[in-house]
Amino acid sequence: MKEYKLALSDEILMQVEKPARYIGNEVNSIVKTGDEKVKIRYAMCFPDVYEIGMSHLGMKILYDMLNRWEDVWCERVFSPWVDLDKIMREKNIPLFGLESQDPIKNFDFLGITIQYEMCYTNILQVLDLAGIPLRAKNRTWDDPIVMGGGPCTYNPEPIADFFDIFYIGEGETRHREILDLYLECKEQGLSREEFLRKAACIPGMYVPMFYQVEYHEDGTIKEFGPIYEELPKKIKKEMVLDVSNTYYPLKPVVPFIKVTQDRVVLEIQRGCIRGCRFCQAGQLYRPVREREVDVLKKYALEMLKNTGYEEISLSSLSSSDYSQLEELINFLIEEGKEKHTNISLPSLRIDAFSLDVMSKVQDVRKSSLTFAPEAGSQRLRNVINKGISEEQIIQGSSLAFQGGWSRVKLYFMLGLPTETEEDIRGIAQLCNKVAATFFDVVPKEERKNGPVQIVASTSFFIPKPFTPFQWAPMNTKEEFIEKAYLTRSAVMEQINQKRIKYNWHEADTSVIEGVLARGDRKLNNVIESLYQKGCIYDSWSEYFKNDLWLETLAEHGLTTEFYNTRQRSFEEILPWDFLDCGVTKEFLMREWKQAVGEVESPNCRQKCLGCGAARYGVGVCKEPKTGGQS
């Protein structure tokens, strides 16, 4: 029998669902066992199950970058699924890195990517199973430095007590500096606190234990700031200036088991020119920076070769805005014919080009068109600055129906600021018009694929930090449900109602997500208490315990009203105000006023709105503008 090293016994692995989640050993995973050059052990964590975490691009980028450095060994760690979680607790098995199978507790760094609010209890699960004290203040040099990154760190306050450092912005820029400082401090025999204090002076680093908050009696923030003079009052996001000349994982790990995003992922650009007012990503990643198309072609071929995948997908916000999209897609299609690779298309604006491409790479009978008008009326679409008109949707569907498509998906949000009953009815009316278009443009004898099928989905709007809607009230659960019923009954009233299927999201999770998204430090106790009560995997509806969340908030004297449904004033100090994400508060205020005035704003290619991101001096900010409205 051959020897092998696994943290879990055969008996346990045979007992749990999908043991391949825990054994590492995948193609392209990096093993540096016995390598004497390694000075830093880094565990990169996505606090959700393996299949979700292994689909995340940011983690792949950083894993690749860190392992290129001779003195670092970066491994992966994910949340053990509930079955193994239980066993590890019963048998006191410490959480381990997949590559070495060594306990995380012995690592130098634990980097956690925080992609959605509902993973917060899983962060505590990871820390706890690793044997790391949950609160940063209780940790010693025996514990890894716990760092957080990702979109949720643009309001890190609800989880501030659990992290030593938050890295604000894109991970490629400052990691080397942090690691060098770490080595230096260790060598000099400095304390952990001294290291953190120095780290807090590196741009982009937020060390929450050195920042204090005071509250007014009504629970809003009175004062927020650093306790040491040398620390920055405002922490500016880190950003890669030249995205064509930076790290990119050309040999990503290839999982044995099927994961959510089971293909080569090519990131074509960062940022978005559109400025939809509800969208956080659209503000956080400004300005748009495109990767050179020749670089992308080279990457694509190399990654397909290094992984053996037969499918590649393009990743970015609003992919249709990538200026070299046509060239890139045509190249990938041509290459694919020879090498038997497929391209999985991102959602594209529906026009002649995208329909042509779609017909080449998908089975028209089986695929569907996707529109995301987000709101049912033109008035409300102006409010949210979603630059898509009814005419464009009807024209796009008409073209597509003539090309043989008969399935359409439409995405909307309920609960947007200023929304009225009329706007909600507009959702049903728009769906009806799309259906009617089908019957207008496709003669009976040509309806081979059956009649048109429309799927309308609504999610509930959650105001997010660093958007023009960050001050806006969110709806209550009851309002949400009422609006979903109204949408449904409005759909039922349509002539083509039989052709329209309507789905809506659950409201409970949205309410809690709202609390966490705009929450403050008071929530740390709530989250820890929920974790102690057994909450993990809150993002999985089957494990989300709504009653427990509401009950625990109340136990700590907190309400969903305070976080969600009240209108915040421009004067209020918001929990995330000490961060500088690149766009200014003044810009967000201007955009809020434009929203209320139902005025659209041009996109970054048409006209500069002076959001603040131009100070980086890169990307779309440097391009000449075309003028005009979208």
């Binding site: 051959k2 391949a20 590492g24 193609v27 088991i257 053996g308 497929n342």
Partner: protein, 230 residues
């Protein structure tokens, strides 16, 4: 040209299930830049046939799959390219060329041999030689087989071709055809019941030693002997 690949599977990868091993090989063949043939149709796939699926937790020295290639640079080249594309624990052991009329890997499987070892040598029961012998000498060996719909009693005896003690443990050669496949764990359960001993599947390691087909005369031969060197 049709190619038969023999590979072994040991160590941590024993926890990778059959379907995932198939997906692993599809990608490995592409990484190795083997000029593999694809089927036609709207979503072409590699022409590939695996022999008998191996249960999760089992190791193997004799797994097989067939592929079809449009061109190649010789057997050595293909072996080394494929081995480059493997992971720790999976190794290409042999490659042979199949004649056009040879049955595919899956359809040709007739039997498989297994070695059962105790993870802790001390746990190996005493007097195995005799007990194996007397167990195998029975006229019939009935076990209860659970299917999705029902449970039924089946006589395994006709499908057992060898059941004997070896130095490392127990060697068995059993039917592995699609119609009469015998899972070694099921047979061992019956054996332990026969000995009135508790059966703990976690205390043993089962390794498939080889997978067999029948030649023209009806004798069992390893699947790679159905092909030729090239």
């Amino acid at each position: 040209m049709r190619i038969r690949i023999k590979f072994s599977k040991h160590g941590a990868v024993k926890f990778i299930g059959h379907l995932d091993i198939m997906r692993f090989f599809q990608k490995a063949i592409r990484r190795a830049q083997i000029d593999v043939a694809y089927s036609g149709g709207f979503s072409p796939h590699q022409i590939m046939s695996f022999a008998a699926p191996l249960g999760v937790g089992l190791c193997s020295n004799g797994e097989y799959l067939d592929i079809e290639v449009n061109s190649h640079q010789g057997r050595e080249d293909m072996m080394s390219r494929l081995n480059e594309a493997m992971v720790e624990g999976i190794k290409i052991e042999n490659i042979v060329a199949l004649s056009d009329n040879a049955g595919n890997a899956m359809a040709s499987v007739a039997a498989a041999s297994y070695l059962v070892e105790w993870k802790l040598k001390a746990e190996k029961p005493q007097g195995l030689k005799e007990s194996c012998h007397s167990f195998f000498a029975q006229k019939e060996i009935f076990v209860t087989k659970e299917t999705k719909k029902s449970t039924m009693s089946v006589d395994l005896k006709p499908g057992i071709y060898a059941f004997e003690e070896k130095e490392e443990g127990i060697y068995l050669l059993v039917d592995a055809s699609s119609s009469g496949n015998i899972k070694p764990a099921l047979l061992l359960e019956a054996f332990f019941a026969y000995l009135n001993l508790p059966f703990n599947p976690n205390s043993i390691q089962i390794t498939r030693e080889d997978t067999f087909t029948r030649d023209k005369k009806g004798s069992l031969i390893p699947l790679d002997q159905a092909g030729e060197n090239f």
